[in-house]
């Protein structure tokens, strides 16, 4: 046996190792160390599973990245654009534009007491947009407040704005 240990310099007698470990643990118990495992190890088994840990880490990274992205967007890659139309006689005004598929759905302007209709829309900077106002669902007009009206090929004009 001794011969074997000499031939393997890192080999160790298992009985001596067990005795040594037992002695160390006895000293630890004498110091009053708690018998139970630390709280973090008391989680249910599914929390300790590898897949859950990966998902948790991935979610953390995703949240941090999303926050960074939102910070970039908030730092000026989009602008709040207010579209205004004076139309006291109208009962409904919608904004139809290339950025909403020309439907005007969800883009109803709000009327104030003087008959001014307005809506504020967040738009991405770095592009130009085309738009018109749809009045009462049947009449459409380009923005009278801007000279930047181009021929739309459909018998009318379309307003443009660059951001």
């Amino acid at each position: 046996m001794k011969q074997d240990l000499r031939e393997k310099p890192f080999g160790r007698d298992p009985e001596r190792a067990a005795r040594s470990a037992e002695a160390i643990m006895a000293r630890v118990r004498a110091l009053g160390a708690p018998d139970r495992a630390p709280a973090v190890l008391a989680f249910p088994a599914f929390v300790r599973s590898r897949a859950v840990r990966y998902v948790a880490a991935a979610a953390l990274v995703a949240v941090l990245s999303s926050l960074a992205t939102l910070a970039v967007i908030g730092n000026g890659s989009s602008a709040q654009v207010r579209f205004v139309l004076e139309a006291p006689e109208a009962s409904e005004v919608r904004l139809a534009a290339d950025f909403n598929g020309w439907t005007g759905e969800g883009y109803a302007l709000e009327r104030d007491v003087s008959g001014t209709w307005s809506i504020t829309v967040p738009l991405r900077k770095g592009a130009s947009y085309s738009y018109i106002f749809l009045i009462d669902g049947e009449r459409w007009v380009p923005d009278p407040a801007t000279h930047q009206v181009l021929d739309d090929g459909l018998g009318g004009g379309v307003s443009t704005i660059s951001l």
Partner: protein, 286 residues
């Protein structure tokens, strides 16, 4: 403590992000900005870009042409079905064959079918008559066919192609020549500039042309100068207003364009152009 394998976690996160990015691209052809009312903005069906969607870089010219042709045929069929069945453009059913006949050569040349859908939705929103709409779409289709043959299908990227083509048609309808549009596209591609900037420059040039009566050739030069300038897109409208002010003060379109090209060509900005146009207001220069 829970042990986290950060390397595997990072790989997993990357995969999640790629998936999210693909999903976002497929869903939104428009600006992708939330609507104030909470409705889904624009875009509608995702673009079935013929050729432009999946540029063929692997095979030889024959393989590429065949792939584009197949993609174009699919896009034409999808567009035809949409024309027949979509409620939002049902008012155009009487002219659907004219619309389809106009769209086929353009889509097969590489123009995005989504550009036709955008224009038809615009016409529907404006309550345009079927005949007027067909006339307009036939004219746009001719422009798009020629443009697609000039600039090819690799640029703009599929997600931005329809918006660029619609803007290009708007510019051409308002006096910008096809060659100028192709020139701006070639510049944007070479300089890795965004299709949105190229489109905005074309729109600005068309507006400039209308505002101060530039000739089509001059407006084309203005488009390229504006696109290649260091001006932010948000200042393009200011440039048009400056041009109108210059015209009101008696400056000829030719001189305005010369000043614009000289100023932007030397890397200067809008304020420098204003100083050159109105030296009496800024006598001390800088």
């Amino acid at each position: 403590m829970m042990r986290i394998d950060w390397r595997k976690a990072a790989t997993f996160s990357l995969a999640l992000f790629c998936a999210a990015g693909l999903a976002a691209q497929g869903g939104a052809g428009g600006a992708g900005i939330p609507t104030p009312g909470g409705a889904t903005p624009g875009a509608g069906p995702s673009q079935s870009a013929p050729g432009g969607g999946v540029p063929d870089r692997s095979g030889g010219p024959f393989t590429g042409a065949a792939t584009r042709e197949g993609a174009g045929r699919d896009a034409v069929e999808a567009f035809g079905r949409w024309l027949e069945t979509s409620g939002e453009v049902s008012r155009f059913l009487p002219v659907r064959y004219r619309l389809l006949a106009a769209a086929v050569p353009a889509i097969e040349a590489g123009a995005p079918a989504e550009a036709f859908r955008i224009r038809l939705r615009e016409a529907a929103a404006k309550g345009a008559s079927p005949e007027t709409t067909a006339d307009a779409l036939e004219a746009d289709a001719a422009r798009w066919t020629a443009l697609a043959r000039l600039i090819g299908t690799d640029w703009p990227p599929a997600s931005k192609s329809a918006a660029f083509y619609v803007s290009a048609a708007l510019a051409m309808r308002n006096g910008i020549e096809l060659e100028a549009v192709a020139g701006v596209a070639a510049w944007a591609r070479a300089e890795k500039s965004s299709p949105e900037r190229a489109a905005a420059a074309l729109t600005a040039a068309a507006t400039l042309r209308a505002a101060i009566s530039l000739s089509p050739a001059e407006a084309g030069r203005a488009a390229l100068a504006v696109a290649a300038s260091r001006l932010k897109v948000g200042h393009f409208d200011d440039l048009v207003e400056l041009a109108e002010r210059a015209a009101r003060s008696g400056l000829s379109p030719f001189l305005f364009l010369a000043a614009l090209e000289s100023t932007f060509g030397s890397g200067e900005g809008l304020e420098d152009l204003e100083r050159r146009l109105f030296p009496q207001v800024f006598p001390s220069g800088r």
